[in-house]
Amino acid sequence: MNCSDIEILLAEYVEGTLQGGAKSAVTIHLAACAGCRELAEDAASAVEFMARTAPVEAPPELLTRILFQAPAVKPTLARRLFGRVLGDWLEPVLQPKLAMGMGVAALSFFMLRPGVRQLTLSDLDPVKVWTSAENRASRVWERGLKSYENLRLVYDIETRVDQWREEAPTEARDPEKTPESGKP
């Protein structure tokens, strides 16, 4: 065995886990080779020193930090709905991105269906776009105003009806009250 072969075996030799013929071969080589012997002695000293060191302990607050940052692995929607095996298969289909993509595609097809007017370049003319937006805004404003007026009218009517209702029983009671009031 040459020095390169010994170097591979030396790690286990200094740990005391090398056995049999390999161990004897290393022992014989070390007795004859000063370079490898020095390497083995240094390595063994380091191993011995490291065995005397105290283990590193993680600070207790670290656990809380980790659990706070990454609270738990939630099961996916697919797993919750369809169980583990089927859920794993269907998971890509139920991804929000895919669902949104499908929705947009469906909307596009709906817009392109026959009967709906196709967009033309002239539709993108800024003057046209502005006029259309202005028309729409004024229509919305007028509609809002009209709704407000209607609401006022409805409120007036309701108030008047309530008044009439309150007055009606009073008038109905009045004839009864009159003879009583006429009593001696």
């Binding site: 075996l9 030799y13 005391g16 056995q19 083995a40 020193f49 490291m50 060191t53 590193v56 099961p75």
Partner: protein
């Protein structure tokens, strides 16, 4: 040779290997069950998984960076990545420990590259505390160190190793991963792991001796 004999006496190969193998199998099964429960949405399982592996991830990060704050941030980042990519873990492609180790290692290497660029632009005033710390450390290393003090001295020495040697020594001697697992984490052959380990250990002994530490 005395040191080699001393180390060899400490371990009893057959029993230790059998016991370690049994323990690893149990941990492996436990990890797989926890991951399965995590993916099923059990919050308690995720907590257990984090509790079991936080110490090791933090220790690797701390040994590599020598900074408690950086180690905490990196550990947090590792678990955030685990959280996001737990679904991509495949039990057939290696143990969870290996997967986690690889994830931590990639993050540490990225961090090392970033901080290396930062260090090269640091002025001597910013580096001064580190130099003073090293001098103070070498002034109190006459006797045989052990425990926390030895741990601090080791930390100073590990910083002097190249990242390749450092990570190998940390994974094997401090975190006790198997050679096969280290090879998977570092994505190199087992022979390379053993060779790096020898060089790392020897280099570490030389650094400690330079700091007048009795080893």
């Amino acid at each position: 040779m005395a040191a080699i004999a001393a180390v060899a006496q400490v371990t009893t190969p057959g029993q230790t290997a059998a016991w370690a193998g049994e323990r690893r199998r149990t941990v492996l099964d436990q990890d797989l069950q926890l991951i399965e429960r995590c993916l099923g949405g059990e919050e308690a399982a995720w907590e257990d998984l984090v509790k079991i592996h936080t110490r090791r991830v933090y220790a690797i990060c701390y040994r590599f960076t020598s900074s408690e704050q950086e180690a905490q941030d990196l550990t947090q980042e590792v678990f955030l990545r685990v959280f996001r990519s737990l679904k991509s873990f495949r039990a057939g492609e290696g143990s969870f420990t290996v997967w986690l180790g690889r994830l931590s290692r990639n993050l540490l290497i990225d961090h090392y590259r970033r901080s290396k660029m930062q260090r090269s632009t640091d002025s001597i005033e910013e580096q001064l505390p580190t130099i003073e710390e090293t001098q103070a450390m070498s002034a109190r290393t006459d006797g045989m160190l052990a425990g926390r003090e030895a741990s601090e001295t080791l930390q100073g020495a590990l910083k002097k190793l190249s990242p390749e040697l450092r990570e190998t020594v940390i994974l094997r001697d401090l975190e006790e991963l198997e050679y096969r697992e280290i090879a998977q984490v570092l994505n190199v052959p087992e022979g390379t792991v053993k060779s790096r380990l020898n060089r790392g250990r020897a280099e570490l002994a030389r650094v400690l001796r330079k700091q007048k530490v009795a080893i």
